[in-house]
């Protein structure tokens, strides 16, 4: 559905250099700290910025060959920016219905009613949660085949985030071929939603893993110096010196559970894995 190959973009000292492949029917997460390159990746895919090298294909077509038809199949949420806030949901409905042949007015109005988004109130008067929902509505109500969501849950409380994620789950259930690429620096949002995950740091992809594997097979070992010296290290991805000894990231949690039952071993989560992949040293 989306193929990014050797994408390069430079901004002063920052350089983006990444490759990703998002298959149809999957929800893929892109996680990284602020300034890692998530939004730059999105903007490159959407043609909002020029690229210095590489290729980007969406629906099998290079972005410079896109026509309106490709854009009509995409729904987008941008981290910064959205529909003009001097307009209302009613205005949004009017504009989107003109631009997207598959726009579903009934669905749009139903969602506005369900999430209490007033039709005649200016968007600038919306709360942060309402604005986030409005952005998602604009993306999903024209039956897009591909959703590109750049930090759609930023600034939201737990309940609002859960509502938004439910909207996305319902959206995917309607059609198995739909695809989502969602970026966030709130990893817990992605753990319950995504099929696989790309981690980006300083413009480079540092890890790509299926979510089930990441949560099931990755683990964090906390070991003393002597334990570290004695243990098998070939399955360690990263190590970090700590005051008590070492913190180690492994992809083979089961191996260490069976062979070193006395070692302190924690289940992997996205936050810990990111921290280790970024700050840890490779063995």
């Amino acid at each position: 559905m989306l193929k990014i190959k050797d994408l390069r973009k430079s901004y002063g000292t920052f350089e983006l250099n990444c490759s990703m492949e998002i298959p149809a029917g999957c929800i893929t997460g892109l996680v990284g700290s602020n300034g890692a390159g998530k939004s730059t990746t999105f903007k490159s895919v959407l043609g909002l910025i020029s690229i210095d090298g590489g290729s980007i294909e969406v629906f099998g077509k290079e972005i410079h060959t896109w026509t309106k038809a490709e854009k009509q199949r995409m729904g987008v949420v941008l981290a910064n920016g959205g529909f003009n806030t001097y307009l209302t949901m009613k205005d949004m409905e009017t504009v989107l219905s003109r631009m997207y042949p598959r726009f579903d007015r009934a669905m749009f109005r139903e969602y506005c009613r369900r999430y209490q988004l007033p039709a005649d109130k200016r968007i600038k008067e919306f709360s942060t949660g309402m604005l986030a929902k409005a952005k998602i509505l604009a993306a999903i109500t024209h039956k897009a085949d591909l959703l590109l969501l750049d930090e759609p849950t930023t600034g939201l409380d737990v309940l609002a985030r859960e509502e938004l994620l439910d909207m996305l789950r319902a959206y995917m259930e309607e059609n198995e071929e739909r695809t989502i690429l969602i970026s966030s620096h709130i990893s817990t949002d992605l753990e319950g939603l995504c099929d696989d995950l790309y981690m980006i740091d300083n413009g480079e992809i540092v890890l790509h893993e299926e979510m089930d594997v990441l949560l099931g097979q990755y683990g964090i070992l906390k070991v003393t110096q002597s334990q570290f010296d004695a243990m098998e290290k070939q399955y360690l991805l990263r190590v970090m010196k700590e005051s008590y000894g070492y913190r180690c990231l492994t992809r083979e949690k089961q191996f260490y559970m069976e062979n070193y039952p006395n070692l302190a071993l924690e289940k992997g989560n996205v936050d810990e894995v990111i921290a280790m992949m970024v700050k840890g040293e490779a063995i």
């Binding site: 910025i49 806030t85 307009l87 631009m99």
Partner: protein, 216 residues
């Protein structure tokens, strides 16, 4: 482009209080002094300025990147500003001209021909104004665009003053300019149309290039 036009008309609808005030202020000299011609200039330019301000509205809250990810091309985005401006400005001008005809029916002292000439000159100036301001706004944004607008107004007024002074200093210059009185009306109309088409064409090309290079 229809979607973008609808968006800008919705913005205009949201500013209806502003336009009502604009109309009421314009009506004062028209009603008090019988100066209907003032409306022919004042109202179209009021709408003209609003067209330029829709570019500023698109900058607010970073809406422009969102607009460009909708199924519109950057070329269409640029083109829509001209279409919108012409619909609003020229449309308002035509309405004002019709108002003038209506006024003229009830006032024998009302001179129709100068009123229509004034309307024609206003249309040309308005179109040339669009042609200059739209690429400036697209390139530099609303803040710097205002500075450019101010500079252009000063430059035009200054040029007129200097030209006027130079003409009066030289009899040959006055004679040279005198040929303008010999040009027939159809010549002025044709010349105005050519000027407007050229101005809009060049301006549109520049605007498209600006939009295609814009990084968001």
């Amino acid at each position: 482009m229809k979607g973008l036009l609808l968006k800008d008309f919705a913005l205009m609808k949201g500013q209806r209080r502003f336009f009502l005030m604009l109309l009421l202020i314009g009506m004062i000299p028209a009603l008090a002094g019988g100066n209907v011609g003032f409306l022919t200039v004042y109202l179209p330019f009021g709408f003209c300025f609003f067209t330029i301000s829709t570019i500023s509205y698109d900058e607010i809250d970073n809406s422009l990147p969102f607009l460009l990810i909708l199924p519109v091309s950057r070329r269409e985005y640029a083109g829509e500003k001209y279409v919108y401006g012409i619909i609003c400005g020229v449309g308002t001008l035509v309405l004002c001209q019709l108002l003038g005809i209506g006024y003229g029916i009830f006032h024998d002292d009302f001179l129709m021909i100068p009123y229509f000439v004034q309307g024609g000159v206003t249309a040309v100036i308005m179109i040339v104004f669009f042609a200059i301001m739209i690429p400036i706004q697209l390139k530099f944004g609303s803040e710097k665009g205002r500075i450019f607008l101010f500079a252009i107004v000063i430059a035009v007024m200054g040029s007129i003053a200097v030209l006027n002074r130079l003409l009066h200093l030289s009899i040959e210059a006055e004679k040279a300019v005198g040929f303008l009185a010999d040009i027939p009306v159809w010549g002025y109309i044709l010349g105005s149309i050519v000027l407007c088409v050229l101005a809009l064409g060049i301006s549109y090309s520049i605007s498209v290039k600006i939009m295609e290079k814009k990084e968001l």
